[in-house]
Amino acid sequence: MSEALHNPEVLSSPAELSSPKPEDGNSWSLKSYLPAIIPIVGSLLMVLLRIQMGGDRFIDDGALMMIALACYLTAATFHLTNLYAPSEMAQKIGLWTGCLGVFFNLSSWCVRWVAGYDRELQIFLSQGRSAEEMQWAFRFIPFANLYDLSLAFAFGAGITTMVISGRKNFRFIGAISLPLAALILVLARFIGNDFINLPPVLDSYWRPIHVGIASLSYGVALVCFAAAVIYLLKVGTKPESMAIWAAIFGLGVFASISRFSVFTTGIYTASTFLQGSRMAMPLRADIPYVGLLIIASGVLLLGVIGLFGKYILQQDERARNLGHWLLKLSLVSQACAIVLLVTQVKSMTNVASRINPDQFPQFGAWLAEQQGMTAQQIQAIEPSRFVAASQEFISERGSTLVLSLNANPVELSALITAFAATLFVVFFSFRTEVLRKALPSAEKLDSLMYKTASVAFAGLAMLLVTGAIWANESWGRYWGWDSKETGAFVAWLTYGGFLHSRIARGVTGRRSAYFAVVAFLLVIFTYLGVSYLLPGLHSYA
């Protein structure tokens, strides 16, 4: 409660009004927006420089993206440090490194735009056509595939973090949102920044509008998720129950990778490419040790679920302590699995010898299908002939089979995300009370969560509406229950559920926060799962 102010100056202040000075009292001044403004202005300068200098002498978009990734991770480290050991210095470094990351992130995207134009111009010039025949610049706006969208999504998350960082006591949000943005860039790195020729149906002015809204609202949704997780921690959700959810997520990832086979066969297999080709072959090579490490991590996570479950139900302190040990062991084991996977994929030679012949009948059928055989014809063929065809393929072209980190971008990113989730739970369980004290009040976090969810809800609504209008312009139907449409719709419904849960009786803050968490998971499912798992019109991105 406020104490009455007994300030002699107030008491003797003249009766006439002094004009208010908004700069003094208003913390949303221009200065507080600087972390968001600087990256945008900087990137515009960067792209002008790129146009001026040409592509040969300028840093390319892939390198800029990697710098952005490094900046995000550095910034996150400083933000986390600041939470545990508050220091003005760490906070400032965190803020400005994050700002630099957003700058490089956006620069990468802008430079890619120019590079896309240059690329098609080269094709035109090589055919004796002139630059005047080229399409307008919007054709080359980098929203053509999942790489472009990921770059923009990470930027959306970064810029939202920067806008929120205008409030000093919300700067901590970077500790969660920037690592998530970094994860998206890691995914982008695995997808690879090759250019594709734009599918003609995407060549519409609705594309930048629709996808632009998508990347920004996904970014806001990411920050909302970060706020919801922090809110849950603040209002007393135990790190142990977060660990259970993270473990379930991790187990889900481990179960689904490598075609759901790691837990049954104990072997992790990676997709192969033909050298120089972008298409993954339906032949998977065994990567030694990785499967075992993943099983070990999974078993440890199962132990974590059991022990923490016992702790939560029976307040068993011993189970709790043991659970934390298993969690840390699982973290180490996951890290080893990822490192072994990445190094072996990068260095493995003689890939053909690592291919399990059990895949041959299926691969042979695939070969036959590639040669234009119909399903009936394939069914009539003996499996042994498929095996023979596969063996012939391996002996002829086996030496050109290679592994690549780009083969399974979602799988690799999912593994890294499971690792990151475990890592954060380990962080949260370290001196939880100190962390809780360092965080702003639950009401402020709730307000941040509500605000970001509102923007995400409005953004997703606009996403759906612009998508519908675009669909009506190019396919003649504004709603067709396409999987991506439905995914965004379900995420939007969930944010709607979040907003309504706040005015419904009997739903408390914590239950509202669950809506925000689930909604973000649905956004991620829409963004990745639909493209990689489900058929549909949005299969390109």
Binding site: A15, L17, S204, A461, G476, R477, G497, H500
Partner: protein, 512 residues
């Protein structure tokens, strides 16, 4: 207590009133249908049903036949029985949408009076203890000549920071309510009106919309559109059902064209900038020329034409022939458009009859081995000045003179010097959709109302001025306020307000 809770309590009081009389089943049902909690449950159910439709392939999706064939009999039986293969048109899905719409309408009706009160009967007087518990609050002691002078000062200060103040005198206290954005309390209703408009559009589309497609190549005419759908029969097998619908006009195709990225590349989608179809629509009002291309549909009499697809079989929109006189001499170059003809100076007439991208002969039958331009050849009819007709072939690649198809015709050796690639045919899709207008209106409304609701808020600040007992020139002013959203913006405005009143920057105590 937040403003939301305030409304909530008002509502719960309203709701409690009819409960006193013995609640009939209908009342209880209405109460359930109009509760927000029920709405949230409906939203969750709708989300789950949509997810099911997302994860299980729908019968309208390409490749459903393959997917369906790979299912086990029990999966087919269960999925078919539950309507999972076409869930978005299942009766329960429609029911869900209907109940949700009803819930939106009923909940809006029930909650509207609560929101209307903010506009109609603003809360003019408050208790100091309540004010001290608001989102923002501050108590200041100030000197002034009179209570009225101080009230005047606070009114001016609140106006200067963008509030609309109302002053109420009661006993020895003055109450000031300063608020802004009161209309924002009604914004949520406008959002729901927009949503219902969109739902209505969707309903019209589902009930009265027609869709179909039409294959067109230059010279072809059609007056019907057709649609193929998968129909699941006996819960275990499915068949392709083709339905056709007559159009009230005739569509004549005059030209098709494809813009490629690499002119020497294939006509596949990844080498394409655009497909263009030139049509002429004929009906009792006359002829109407139109160009349909990617993302540029054409509207006519409530029907909309879209560039939908193409036949991946190569053809040539025009050919450039090189004719070398058999007797020797410089070759002549002649260009002919698809299905067109040309006359040479010597009177020889050449008709461009057909084109094969991958020319082959099966017996005497001329055909194409594939749709790709592996061995492109133009098929021509040649008529000499004397009236003698014969067939000629112009190949892009050099043929040995011994090849029968490469022989000279009408005194010329024919070569296909160049040609413009184009598909054999284009597919247009045609829609008649009466739901589009409500959908667009609803979308526009949604955009406006969502922006209005989320980017503005109803901010209220009260001030209670009370004279101090010891000194009549000394006053205690209790200020406090709340908002329906964006408390951060309220805090900023409140700080400005305090500063404008006291003339000094203040540390405002926030509720923690």
């Amino acid at each position: 207590m937040s403003a939301i809770e305030e409304t909530k309590n008002a509502i719960s009081v309203n709701r409690a009133a009819p409960a006193k009389a013995s609640p009939s089943i209908i009342t209880r049902l209405l109460n359930l249908l109009s509760s927000v909690r029920f709405g949230v449950s409906m939203l969750s159910l709708l989300a789950i049903a949509s997810m099911i439709g997302m994860l299980i392939m729908q019968s309208s999706v390409d490749g459903f036949d393959k997917y369906f064939a790979a299912l086990t009999p029990s999966q087919k039986l269960l999925g078919g029985w539950l309507g999972f293969f076409d869930i978005y048109h299942a009766w329960y899905f429609n029911l869900l949408l209907l109940v949700l719409s009803l819930n939106i309408v009923l909940a809006s009706i029930e909650r509207f009076p609560g929101a209307w009160v903010y506009l109609k009967r603003p809360k003019l007087e408050v208790v100091a203890a309540w004010l001290r518990k608001q989102t923002v609050t501050q108590t200041v002691e100030m000197r002034a000549d009179s209570r009225a002078a101080l009230a005047e000062r606070i009114v001016k200060a609140s106006q200067s920071v963008g509030f609309k103040p109302i002053v109420t005198e009661k006993g020895n206290r003055t109450y000031i309510l300063a608020q802004r954005g009161t209309w924002n309390r009604l914004g949520a209703y406008a959002v729901h009106v927009a949503l219902l408009t969109i739902f209505f559009g969707g309903f019209l589309t589902a009930q009265f919309g027609r869709t179909g497609s039409m294959w067109l190549k230059p010279g072809a005419t059609s007056n019907e559109m057709s649609e193929t759908v998968f129909k699941i029969e006996d819960r275990n097998t499915f068949r392709l059902d083709k339905s056709t619908a007559a159009l009230p006009f005739e569509v004549f195709c005059t030209d098709i064209r494809q813009e490629l990225i690499r002119k020497d590349g294939p006509i596949t989608a990844d080498n394409t900038i655009d497909w263009l179809t030139q049509i002429k629509i004929k009906d009792e009002t006359g002829e109407h020329n139109a160009l349909v291309h990617m993302n540029r549909p054409y509207d006519y009499r409530g029907y909309r034409f879209f560039q939908a697809s193409f036949m991946n079989v190569g053809h040539a929109r025009n050919i450039k022939l090189s004719l070398t006189p058999e007797a020797g001499g410089e070759p002549q170059i002649v260009s002919i458009a698809r299905d067109g003809s040309a006359q040479l100076p010597d009177g020889t007439k050449i008709d461009y009859v057909d084109f094969q991208p991958d020319f082959t002969m099966q017996g005497s039958q001329i055909t194409s081995q594939s749709g790709e331009y592996n061995n492109p050849a133009a098929i021509l009819n040649v008529m000499t000045p004397a009236g003698e007709r014969s067939r000629a072939f112009a190949f892009a690649q050099e043929l040995p003179s011994s090849a029968p198809v490469g022989r000279a015709v009408a005194g010329y050796k024919f070569r296909l010097a160049d040609f413009e690639k184009v598909p054999e045919a284009h597919m247009l899709s045609i829609q008649r959709d009466p739901g589009t207008t409500p959908f667009y209106v609803g979308s526009g409304l949604l955009f406006i109302t969502l922006s209005a609701v989320f980017f503005f808020s109803h901010q209220r600040v009260w001030a209670i001025i009370e004279e101090s007992e010891a000194d009549s020139k000394n006053f205690e002013v209790v200020l406090g306020g709340n908002t329906n959203r964006n408390s951060v913006a309220l805090e900023d405005r409140f700080k400005q307000l305090i500063q404008a009143i006291t003339g000094k920057p203040q540390e405002v105590q926030e509720k923690s």
